[in-house]
Symmetry: C2
Subunit: 134 residues, 2 copies
Amino acid sequence: MSTGDTGVSASLHDHRLPMPVPVGEYDRCPVTDVLRRVSDKWTLLLITLLGRHPHRFNELHRAVEGLSPRMLTRTLRVLESDGLVEREVFPTLPPSVEYRLTPLGASLLEPLSALAEWAVAHHAEIVAVRQRTA
Amino acid sequence: MSTGDTGVSASLHDHRLPMPVPVGEYDRCPVTDVLRRVSDKWTLLLITLLGRHPHRFNELHRAVEGLSPRMLTRTLRVLESDGLVEREVFPTLPPSVEYRLTPLGASLLEPLSALAEWAVAHHAEIVAVRQRTA
DNA sequence: CTGAATCCATGTCGATACTG
DNA sequence: CAGTATCGACATGGATTCAG
């Protein structure tokens, strides 16, 4: 890299990342932005389910215990507005709506599973430390 | 996988993951748990900085514009209680404290950068869709 | 079946001031 | 230097009720 080590522009690994975040614009850090979207309560689970095959609204509703229609709709709408999920309405009676991952959404599965793999491998250790500290 | 396709135990990619989350215990999904910890406002940035080399409290404070001592302490404490960051106090006068990544914390850098790479590659597209939807 | 509307509890974060 | 204490604003998520 031509750029010197001034400032805090930081690499996680060997990639240059657009950090630090300018004042008041932390939401413009792409990584944190994506992270925040994916880490809310139901998003990861829904992405995972839709990664297997398309689902109808009530399929998702029934599949995820504890997920209310309100939160399901809300979460799907965010996913849709980020271009990760696609919504298709079939004008049947009663109506049915199908949700599927877009190519963009599907492309997220791989990096997510890298992190998922790390999480399942190390979660026990984290929990152990957490309790010792508590 | 011996288990059939009943239930919603889901794979992100080709890994079996401990989903779905039982009612009221979504915090026991390792992946979402890790995701939520890493995705708060300052954590990723601090992990990134500490991934380069150990830092003293005020070094971090000066490095990150907009980060208050309160949030810096808070974020570091969580990281510490999860075993990702180590805190070492030097009983000098005035006191100085150094923070560094633990091996566990360092091991997180690689899966994180996979996601980071995806984020920088696709964030523009997400933002574009987001605005079109808005 | 696929939602929308309303209200409320809790969590996250910032601002400000103070301390060993 | 390296924090703590207090307060309040805003975001997230749940419960309940209603609708096309």
